[in-house]
Symmetry: C2
């Protein structure tokens, strides 16, 4: 049994209050005691061996939607203009040259970048399964295993959302570059994922979950098979939904229903499900998401970068749909940037302020984000929870001026990933004094991205 004690100058507590002089005792990766100076039950650090965490301490943020290999595209897709669909061609070129070893190195560095930013868990929406021509590797889960290992080495938890991807569009064959994504049908997908789950599903840092790439990529008759597998394992099920108007139009043409309704009819919605993006929704879609308890994962920077548009975040929140946040294509890896963009985009769309406040955005980043990945025991500073602690400097040029009353808003609306000083994941220090235990993550990213680019045609 290992015990450590942390003394937080300020901490964001589950009731939304910012407590001062909060002492957190951690035993075997869990919070085993927590005392709040303002409760009058012992403000000072107990003993001299408490580790001081200055600034504002948050529970760990969850990066609820990630495609790790997209990190190699950052900054490299802006030359040509075009649309989401042109960007997708750049992305396919990167996907075409990855193998499990190269992806392991790239993902480890990308996950370490996330840890440095204050993310303690990642939802990896993983559809790169097979060799470029579609044949399985000797280990058909070589990529998935590489990603699970990469997360462990980078010190973050992973929900490996193994993605079913079968078609190139409604009633369309796979394109050649999509072949490596496909298992042929959902039954084959489930059999492969079942193996992955047996091998890695019981690691403390990993959840093996499911994903439907989209209603474009999984035929309607295959959707219930994926949903049934996730249900059988009580596992998270994520799905890209209505990111682009073209998807809605094609779905209506093929099925006479919106993507949300098609998923609802397939039994794919519910509290374990996350609808990713959900940018172009009808009022009926919002009602279906709410009624089923489905999460909606916003990826505001990616949605801006790809020109997806501004979704109905305020309407969803008001309806009671739990929101989560993800960095998706990793144009930026910064929880605070995603959080404030979610609010700022609503302001731009409505010409009014005050849609998602700092507490709501922090809940999306932490409690709801973690729950959406199957880590329902994380994302809050309370006894029994996983011991994730993220300390944010309140004295940087970006955050200076914060006081206890405004600290949560100062961080959400002003901090950057560069202000995260210390990150503890499941009780293990991963980032100390802005340095990751893996060393120079920038250099590791440079090396891993160069290896991918060298192979690109």
């Amino acid at each position: 049994m290992t015990t450590a004690t942390y003394h937080c100058e300020l901490a964001w507590l589950p009731d939304g209050r910012v407590g001062s002089d909060v002492t957190v005792e951690v035993t075997d990766g869990r919070i085993t005691a927590l005392s709040d100076g303002h409760d009058g039950d012992g403000a000072a650090p107990q003993g001299t061996d408490a580790v001081a965490l200055p600034g504002l301490v948050l529970p760990g943020a969850a990066n609820a939607h990630s495609h790790a290999f997209h990190r190699a595209l950052r900054g490299a897709t802006h030359a040509g203009g075009g649309t989401f669909w042109a960007w997708r061609e750049c992305m396919y070129a990167a996907a075409a040259v990855l193998d499990p070893d190269r992806y392991h190195a790239l993902a480890r560095a990308t996950f370490a970048e996330m840890a440095l930013a204050g993310f303690t868990a990642v939802g990896e929406f993983h559809y790169l399964h097979h060799q470029p021509d579609g044949r399985p590797y000797t280990d058909p889960n070589a990529f998935g295993a590489a990603l699970v290992a990469a997360a462990a080495e980078a010190g973050v938890r992973i929900a490996l959302l193994d993605t079913c991807y079968l078609a190139g569009g409604f009633g369309e064959e796979l394109q050649p570059r999509q072949r490596r994504f496909s298992d042929g049908d959902a039954a084959n997908w489930a059999a492969r994922v079942e193996d992955l789950h047996r091998a890695h599903g019981h690691a403390d840092h990993a959840v093996i979950g499911a994903a439907i790439h989209s209603v474009r990529a999984v035929p309607a008759d295959q959707l219930p098979v994926v949903a049934a597998w996730a249900r059988s394992q009580d596992a998270p099920l994520h799905v890209h939904v209505s990111e682009q108007p073209a998807e809605n139009e094609a779905c209506l043409a093929a099925h006479g229903r919106t993507p949300v309704r098609l998923l609802a009819d397939a039994g794919a919605l519910g509290p374990r499900t996350s609808a990713v993006h959900a940018t172009h929704l009808t009022d009926r879609d919002v009602a279906d998401l709410e009624a089923s308890g489905t999460h909606v994962c916003l990826c505001p920077t990616t949605e801006a970068d790809l020109g997806d548009g501004i979704g109905p975040a305020r309407q969803l929140a008001t309806a009671g749909v739990p929101l989560t946040l993800g960095t998706d294509s990793h144009a930026s890896v910064d929880p605070f940037v995603e959080a404030r963009r979610a609010e700022w985009d609503q302001r731009l769309a409505t010409l009014a302020r005050g849609h998602l406040d700092a507490d709501a955005l922090l809940r999306a980043l932490t409690r709801d984000g973690q729950a959406s990945l199957g880590f329902g025991d994380a994302g809050r500073l309370e006894v029994g929870a996983r011991a994730d602690l993220v300390a944010v400097d309140l004295g940087s040029v970006r955050t200076a001026g914060a006081d206890p009353a405004t600290a949560a808003a100062a961080v959400v609306f002003g901090a950057s990933a560069a202000d995260v000083t210390d990150v503890i994941v499941d009780g293990r220090p991963v980032v100390e004094g802005r340095a990751h235990v893996l060393g120079d993550v920038g250099a590791q990213l440079t090396h891993a991205i160069a290896a991918v680019r060298e192979e690109a045609p």
Copy 2:
């Protein structure tokens, strides 16, 4: 005569090319020689005393629109929701308690934050002139002098855009909290500014320019007086234009014309003029801005934070209107964040990519931004220009993966202010190894903001 030589690993050159191994010789604050390794005329640093600037070196960015005291509001205005107009009440409360000494300390720290981010010049849109009850201080330019001194100490150039502010709205008296902004009429304003110009207009680091707060705050018959003073001094003239639909509606009701047309009719547009925001424009407004050669200053983060809406940046650029960028209310002080948001907001509004590319955004930040402040000899790496050099780390977790072909886009779309390592302004090193010559700027901001908040009612 002092000479220094810098060796830039990569540098963004005036033709938009990124050169490798660029050597820059600086004498008395000007670039006196520049050799580009790719020209074959001497790539290596000349002699052993060249200072190495790793990463991508940019000419200095101009923060073309600033209200320095708004820095005290960062993170502190999000609780209540509401609109731009509710936010303005928070801002007035901060303005009410400033005196020249407190403002000097706050502005110095805020300008130092700008230097750390890679801004080498600031356009300070300054309307806080008098005592709270409207009476002049013993030195009627005590505030202006404090701001000019603060910039010098922080190591950045300043265009002090002394602002005429006379009315509380179209045909409306000043509100009590607006009294300290007013000189009574434009002739009094001009007389005071003339004194300020005599005292400070010949400092190498300062330009004394003019501003019309808005067509709301300066009656139509007073506009030509302000424009005439700026013309007589060949000085920049900035004006808030059409930030909010309510301004347009009130202007149309009062004058039967849009704000842009009213300014055009008053002789207030032209190449020395910057229309700040220009968010809600008619096609005729765009044509008037283009025909007159007026700059448009976008402040994307502030426009998001205040719910102003997304302006027609693409339309303006296509029409040939030179764009500049400013951090305005300082919700964020980061040139790269402003630049990419300008493009990303266009993507959100149009659902397509590729409106303002990295080169266009860097030109707005540097050459056009500097020119809009009266520093037409700055903002480009060429012989004869002011020696502003800003080095951006290409090996951080944010920028890793950049290569010479993608370096400009990697910085514009991926870097943060935290990636700026070295800043030289007019040949003077101001930031070295991410540290400002003034020391701990975060601590100075904390102290200065606390002093303002202590006085707040």
